[in-house]
């Protein structure tokens, strides 16, 4: 199978998976015991009002009709209206999404900056104390409740010591740059507002560290494993016996091949960062998808729940797809099976 057929096949498969996800989320959110209308109107609402709202939202139709309606609207890019914010869900998602992308991307940079060097140290000093320490560091990272780490760091570094800014994307006194991409760092760069740029980067630091530390563990682990495997191979022995410096062997010969599996893990981690983002955003008052979805989940605003879940699943699947293709591209030995 050549690369093109592989990509097309994976793409078709992804569409099936996404359809399945629509079904799963639809079933979860429509066969629920929770009563969203009751939750909004309160127990004092008259039965007529409840009935009117039910009809307005189409809840009185049979389930399969509601599903077909939803699918048709979905194909037109309409995810329905949020009961909680009274906005179209698509609009809400577009508004909250950039903040999450900004956070997740800078967290990814942190994760790579922590994970790869630690993985290398761990592999080179296998079973010695630097290895033990970096493994503990990584394991503590995956075992850490991110919402708690965020809280503690805010308490110590912002409230007690005042070296880092508090929650939010900018200091209260600094006006937001005109919204172009929704990423404050990029927007302030475009509008030449360097004060806002520096301030937003500063605000990004703590949440990115919290989220990036959590994500760095898997990168550390895969870099260590992959590098150890490569270092055992014959071509490395050859390189060493030619008398090349260890540094050259490590960075030019070994690392290149070891970073292939690391790349795929980085891609997969990006998808799962969205998960950590839900918790990090709650702590840092970050106006992103995570906070939006938590609010939607708590108030059983299920069109918004379905919309966010779908969007997250879409990003997650796309990240995995890109990773698979990249993998096949980077390593010609993979037979795209």
């Amino acid at each position: 199978m050549d690369l093109r057929t592989y990509v097309i096949r994976r793409f078709i498969l992804m569409i099936f998976v996404l359809f399945g996800i629509v079904v799963i989320t639809f079933v979860i959110s429509h066969v629920i015991p929770a009563d969203p209308i009751g939750a909004i109107l309160g127990p004092q609402a008259s039965p007529e009002l409840v009935e009117k709202i039910r009809r307005e939202w189409g809840f009185d139709k049979p389930l399969h009709e509601q599903f077909v309606d939803y699918i048709f609207k979905l194909m037109k890019g309409d995810l329905g209206k949020s009961i909680r914010t009274n906005n179209p869900v698509v609009e809400d998602l577009l508004y909250f999404f950039p903040a999450t992308i900004e956070l997740a991307t800078s967290a990814m940079i942190v994760a790579i900056a922590i994970g790869i060097p630690l993985g290398i140290i761990s592999a080179v000093k296998k079973d010695k104390w630097p290895d033990h320490i970096s493994r503990i560091f990584a394991l503590v990272g995956v075992s850490m409740p991110v919402f708690w780490l965020g809280l503690i760091l805010l308490f110590v570094l912002y409230y007690k010591l005042g070296i880092f800014p508090g929650p939010g994307r900018l200091d209260p006194g600094i006006p937001e740059p005109p919204r172009i991409t929704g990423l404050i760092t990029i927007d302030s760069l475009i509008s030449g507002n360097f004060k806002a740029l520096l301030n937003s980067l500063w605000h990004l630091a703590l949440p990115s560290f919290v989220l990036g530390y959590y994500a760095s563990a898997s990168i550390t682990r895969i870099t260590r494993t992959a590098l150890l495997e490569v270092l055992n191979q014959d071509y490395i022995k050859t390189a060493r016996s030619k008398g090349l410096a260890e540094r050259v062997v490590l960075f030019r010969h070994a690392l290149r091949n070891a970073l292939i599996p690391t790349t795929t893990v980085i891609g997969m981690t990006y998808g799962s960062l969205l998960e950590g983002a839900v918790l990090t955003e709650t702590i840092f008052a970050w106006p992103g998808l995570g906070r939006y979805s938590t609010g939607a989940f708590l108030s059983v605003d299920f069109l918004a729940v379905m919309g966010t879940t779908l969007l997250i699943a879409l990003i997650y699947s796309l990240a995995n797809l890109i990773v698979d293709i990249l993998y096949a591209f980077l390593d010609p030995r993979i037979r795209y099976a």
Binding site: L139, L151, T282, F297, L298
Partner: protein
């Protein structure tokens, strides 16, 4: 039946196999640490009524938000409850949730996985497509969606978490089943007329189980963390139950002045999860060493 098991266990404890395992565990300080943490957690959970002398739920307005002291080693919370007692009782909640979630997903996933792997064909294809869909979600998000739909509570938390975890066991045991189903010993069992059911559970299950056990150990840590996250977000266990995530969330309001309310339960989550992760990592290493022998 009882005696047979006891005898087999005694045999195993005397065997070289067990001594090697023990040696490998002792040689790895990290695994020892993980084991210590895990065993302590289990002991805390069992002995909670004896260790925590104060009622974890009863409120005492005269003792609101007291800092740590000999009488209240972790201080008290906004309702005057002793945080140390609540953290100790919390180990019961977390451990119970994790054990039940892992037990449900382990058994469902493993059975579905080996059946699909063994029979192949349409059943297998269907199962794999279903797992694809589940894996296209970040786990916590799906668990949040299910928990939100079912409504909060300890029972629903368990269901939501099991609902999203079984796929990993199904995948793993399917993959190992595929590897062994053409082996001679399966062929031999078939030749002497063993039923499919017997082959599956007597011959295939025992040899495919070890990677699944590693997954289960690591999952225990993950389950404690997820349950705490759901509790923290308000979608899981509800107050006044002394659940660690709920406790961190309740302490958020007081973090600036009364840091102890959130800090200690958070530490408990970290240590409990870390214990299982260290242990799972260690078991993984040991199984790898053993398979290389």
């Amino acid at each position: 039946m009882h005696e047979v098991i006891t005898l087999a266990l005694m045999d195993y404890l005397k065997s070289e196999d067990f001594r090697i395992t023990l040696y490998l565990v002792r040689k790895s300080p990290l695994t020892m640490l993980g084991m210590t943490l895990t065993i302590s957690l289990i002991l805390f959970a069992i002995l909670a009524p004896y260790i925590a002398k104060q009622d974890p739920i009863e409120q005492d307005p005269s003792k609101r938000l007291l800092p740590p002291s000999p009488e209240h080693p972790f201080g008290t919370d906004q309702l005057g409850r002793d945080i140390f007692s609540r953290v100790i009782w919390g180990s019961r909640i977390s451990l119970t949730i994790a054990v039940i979630v892992v037990a449900i997903s382990f058994s469902t996933g493993t059975v579905l996985g080996i059946v699909a792997g063994y029979f192949g064909g349409k059943v297998d294809e269907l199962l794999m497509r279903i797992t694809d869909m589940f894996m296209a979600f970040p786990r916590l998000i799906l668990a949040m969606a299910v928990a939100a739909a079912l409504g909060p509570g300890i029972f629903n938390t368990v269901i939501a978490m099991a609902f999203v975890s079984w796929v990993y066991y199904a995948r793993l045991s399917r993959a190992s089943t595929l590897q062994v189903r053409e082996e001679m010993f399966v062929e031999a069992a078939r030749a002497i007329g063993a039923s499919n059911l017997r082959i599956l559970f007597k011959h295939i299950l025992p040899v495919t189980i070890s990677p699944v056990i590693v997954q289960a150990t690591l999952d225990m840590g993950g389950a404690i963390l997820t349950a705490a996250a759901l509790g923290f977000l308000g979608l899981g266990v509800q107050p006044p139950t002394p659940e660690w995530g709920v406790m961190v969330s309740e302490g958020r309001r007081f973090i600036t002045e009364q840091w102890w309310v959130s800090t200690f339960p958070g530490f408990a989550i970290l240590l409990a999860t870390l214990g299982f992760n260290l242990l799972g990592d260690g078991i993984n290493d040991i199984l790898n060493v053993r398979s290389r022998r």
